[in-house]
Amino acid sequence: MSATSISTMAVVRVRGTLRGLAGGQSEHELDGATVVALLRALERRHPSMSGWILDERGRIRRHLSVFVGGERARESTAVRSGDRVDVVQAITGGSA
């Protein structure tokens, strides 16, 4: 069975600016079998977040990091039911 056919409820956690765009709420229970599916679901629930995590190509913005269960993830990373997905700013040391 392909990952995209699985209905999965996971918790996406955002903070800072993103939390403000998400109605002031940090945790969002969403249905999606991959990271990108979850993030698109988050955008549908909070349209003002469109373009803030994913760009027009559907890629995670370069200076953001997404972790699934504490492990660095990519757009296509599969998400299992009950997983915790964190969206955080990447560390950008070396640039003032």
């Binding site: 373009g51 027009e56 190509r57 559907g58 200076h63 953001l64 700013q89 640039s95």
Partner: protein, 360 residues
């Protein structure tokens, strides 16, 4: 009273003051974030700003209220979803010439957006986006940036834009169709054999139109200063006549005099600082035949400043022309007498990306 809307690496600053005086910072917004360009639309009083967050991507915001308060994000400043490209940066915002609420925004990758509601929502200009030659356009060092937007006074159908390094593009039908306007430009950095390739880098740095004679335009090129007398179709080299260098970025004009232009030359592409450790603005009043240094009051020793393409602005005209520019050193300088004398307007700001002068 004059207002300066200043985009910096660390936020937006608003300053107010009288020409010749030091200005007071009256507000700061987008603290800590790079504000690539910001301006106040003189028709509506609306402030518009582009924020190039490295985390969240480029966004365009506007406010009709307290600039230190909440700003609204403009809709539609995005590329088509699901394609191969993403919007990289919004380089410039320009008010249209009429009272119809038209506002333009230009950005990387060589894209133009148009708003008909004063900047609350935008649409991508399809004619430029779908140019057949687009896949062969070459980006400049700052990306494929559409940085100059020149409306035609009284005729919204006519528009000129400049893209580094895809050159000049002109439309006479409101942006439905576009044609190049690069005749006469000499990209000295290209091998002679490559000059036949119209997609090879035409690295335009900045273009301004003379409001009183709209077919007259001035261009700072990547090595070269040019004038057009046919609305950007063709260009004549005016980079001699007393300039210490024909390399630089910023350019402005006196609206009262179509033969006028002001430049701030830098040494060269490999040394992008003011020549000889002196900060000087160069003025022409004869359409580029001769250039005169205007440095009275500007740093004259060990001053190696970089002034970026959007960091030079004007308000007023003729004898009351005010000129302002900012440097990446965080300093702002101004003149209230058309460049005859200068003073420091502010110092110790963050690196200045853009300056827009006007009435508060």
């Amino acid at each position: 009273m004059t207002e300066l809307v200043v985009g910096t690496k660390k936020g937006l600053f608003l300053l107010e003051g009288e020409p010749g005086d030091e200005f007071e910072v009256t507000a700061r917004a987008f603290a800590g974030q790079p504000v690539d360009y910001a301006m106040r639309d003189p028709r509506s009083g609306r402030l518009l700003a582009t924020v190039g967050s490295p985390f969240y991507g480029p966004k365009l915001f506007y406010t009709d209220g307290d600039p230190a308060g909440e700003w609204e994000q403009a809709d539609g400043v995005v590329l088509p979803e699901g394609g191969e490209q993403a919007l990289e940066r919004i380089w410039v915002i320009a008010a249209g010439d009429g009272a119809d609420g038209v506002v333009y925004a230009g950005g990387d990758p060589g894209v133009l957006f148009e708003s008909r509601d004063g900047g609350a929502s935008f649409q991508l200009n399809a004619g430029l986006w779908e140019q057949p030659s687009r896949p062969r356009w070459q980006a400049g060092g700052g990306g494929l940036c559409l940085h100059s937007i020149c409306p035609w006074p009284g005729d919204p159908a006519r528009l000129a834009v400049a893209i580094s390094a895809a050159g000049m593009w002109l439309t006479d039908d409101g942006g439905s169709s576009w044609r190049r306007g690069n005749e006469g430009l000499n990209p000295r950095y290209l091998p002679a054999e490559a000059l036949q390739d119209e997609n090879a880098g035409r690295c335009v740095h900045h273009v301004e139109r003379a409001p009183g004679r709209p077919e007259r335009m001035f261009m700072q090129f990547h090595g070269g200063v040019y004038r057009s007398d046919d609305a950007g179709e063709s260009w004549t080299d005016i980079g001699g006549g007393g300039l210490p260098s024909d390399f630089g970025f910023p350019l402005t004009v006196d609206p009262a005099d179509p033969d006028s232009a002001y430049l701030i030359p830098l040494v060269a592409d490999m040394d992008r600082v003011t020549p000889d450790g002196r900060v000087r603005v160069y003025e022409t009043r004869d359409a580029g035949a001769t250039w005169t240094p205007r440095g009275d009051g500007l740093p004259a020793e060990h001053a190696y400043l970089t002034v970026l393409r959007q960091a030079f602005s004007r308000t007023g005209q003729g004898d009351r022309l005010q000129l302002y520019f900012g440097a990446t050193s965080g300093e702002l300088f101004g003149s209230g007498d058309a460049g005859a004398t200068w003073s420091t307007v502010a110092s110790r700001l963050a690196p200045v990306f853009s300056v827009a002068a006007g009435a508060p």
